[in-house]
């Protein structure tokens, strides 16, 4: 009886409270190398980040997976730029918004930074501290969505 009540209570809770971890977010890191082939065309190759030295271009791939039985809406992914890296853009068609202060998000060319002397200047890629993607469409049950950004190792 007691067990049944607990079960009922749990079921009721599920109906109104958020479900725990019905989604997964995976990050992967690669090093990109541009090699000019014999035909003179530069090709970018992607390798696991086993060899990474200052100046290298690092590629991050984030994969969101909806493990719930219903579509996930309003998927918003926030990625702080890791220490030691300078943001170098996103490879995504829908470019993410960025922030230089962790509060205001917008396109990079619309953001400003305050300099030491109090004046403000247009923000540069090196000023970006956070990256944020917001999916306009829902991710169906069992579906995945991928996001990428590049950064340069300082």
């Amino acid at each position: 009886m007691k067990t049944l009540l607990s079960g009922l209570f749990l079921g009721a809770a599920c109906a109104v409270l958020p479900l725990a971890a019905h989604a997964g977010l995976k990050t992967e890191v690669f090093v990109e190398t541009s090699v000019v082939g014999a035909d003179g065309v530069a090709r970018t190759t992607r390798a696991p980040a086993a060899r990474a030295v200052p100046g290298d271009q690092i590629l991050y791939v984030l994969t969101f997976r909806n493990e719930a039985a219903k579509p996930a809406e309003g998927v918003t992914i926030t990625n702080p730029v890791p220490q030691g890296l300078t943001f170098a853009g996103s490879g995504d068609e829908a470019a993410p918004l960025v922030s230089v202060d962790g509060r205001t998000f917008g396109p990079l060319d619309r953001l400003t930074v305050r300099k030491a002397d109090g004046s403000s200047a247009p923000a540069a890629a090196g000023d970006v501290t956070q990256i944020r993607w917001t999916l306009p469409q829902a991710v169906p049950a069992g579906g995945e969505a991928s996001f990428t950004f590049r950064a340069t190792l300082k």
């Binding site: 989604a23 995976k26 060899r51 809406e73 992914i77 890296l85």
Partner: protein, 355 residues
């Protein structure tokens, strides 16, 4: 160069400015061995109900060592010295552009005879007893007995040490001798203070969780691209007798034949040309040429010209006329050439009449 012996060389100015035009190397960057972690978070809703934020897995890698070293000559001028001098000093800097602390093994060699030096001179002599010392107190001057370290110990990223090549000049050699010397710095493992580590080697296999070693240095004066070493050249210039004067006499005319095939007969006009060549490596200034008027000749008034040129060994009829009052004293002509650049020839000429 050795600043104690630095002289104001007219010819050195343009070389110095060329040497300073190089771009500064990029900062070494994130320290080797640093772990770079990336995590993201996602917020979403299901059925209109906001779900708890989900944190991502962490993607990590370890920053590898990018070996990069720069050796540079200091000053853009030679060390001026003379034959027989001992313990003559040339000065370099060694900069660690590696993203980790490194030792540097150092060695100096004499440049090959006949090769062109970094200061665009031809190596014509050598030095012996070549030693290399690190500037221990950072004063940029070689202090014998004080600067005794022969390798650079535990140099932090982006830090520079001054290094001296100390060598002896031979007892004698060609006039205006040039002896190039090359300093090479080889990147060695740091970590143990007070001992020179082994030369670094490039990792053959890349490990995502370990510090691999990658060579990223440029080619130097006497080393290759990406060989964990770098080198630069400096030189010793022998400063001494550096001008060579050649006197020629040319008949200009005689009273019978005029200008055509003149003969040395009474009344003929003879031109004496003293061509002074600077065979040194520095400009020479205030060169005084004195020549007695030969017996049985008479100085032609107003005939002295200074600053002329020589073409194919023949004195040209150019130069600036000098007032007799300043150059002719009744028995001799004394002309002053203001300056002669290295390898240049400048003339002083005057005419006499055969009595």
């Amino acid at each position: 160069m050795n600043s104690k012996l630095k002289r104001a060389a007219v010819g050195g100015v343009s070389i110095a400015s060329l040497m300073l035009a190089g771009a500064a190397p990029a900062a070494p960057g994130t320290l080797a061995g640093s772990t770079i972690n990336n995590t993201a978070s996602v917020g979403y809703s299901i059925g209109g109900v906001a779900q708890p934020t989900v944190n991502s897995t962490t993607a990590s890698f370890v920053v590898d060592r990018k070996v990069n070293v720069t050796v540079a000559e200091v000053g853009g001028t030679a060390t001026f010295t003379s034959y027989g001098q001992k313990d003559q000093v040339t000065t370099f800097t060694v900069t660690n552009n590696t993203n980790s602390v490194q030792d540097f093994r150092l060695f100096g060699v004499d440049s090959v005879l006949g090769t062109t030096t970094t200061l665009n001179h031809t190596d014509s002599t050598g030095v012996t007893n070549i030693r290399v010392f690190v500037d221990s107190n950072g004063n940029g001057q070689y202090d014998a007995g004080v600067d005794t370290a022969t390798y650079i110990d535990e140099l932090a990223p982006d830090q520079t040490k001054t290094v001296f090549i100390v060598a002896d000049l031979p007892a004698s050699g060609p006039a205006g001798g040039v002896a190039g010397v090359i300093l090479t710095a080889v990147t060695a493992s740091g970590g143990a203070s007070g001992t020179l580590g082994a030369d670094v080697t490039a990792s053959l296999v890349d490990d995502v969780n370990a510090v691999d070693t990658v060579f990223g240095d440029a080619a130097g004066w006497a080393d290759a691209y990406r060989d964990a070493r770098h080198s630069a050249q400096d030189e010793y210039d022998v400063y001494g007798t550096s001008a060579l004067a050649v006197k020629t006499a040319t008949l200009i005319s005689d009273p019978l034949n005029g200008l055509v095939a003149p003969k040395a007969i009474p009344g003929a006009v003879m031109e004496y040309c003293i061509a002074v060549k600077n065979i040194g490596v520095q400009a020479i200034t205030g060169v005084t040429v004195t020549d007695n008027i030969p017996a049985n000749t008479t100085y032609v008034p107003g005939s002295t010209h200074v600053g002329g040129t020589v073409l194919l060994g023949v004195c040209q009829g150019d130069g600036v006329g000098a007032a007799d009052g300043s150059v002719y004293n009744g028995t001799a002509v004394t002309a002053t050439i203001p300056t002669i650049a290295p390898n240049d020839v400048v003339t002083a000429r005057f005419r006499v009449t055969i009595n």
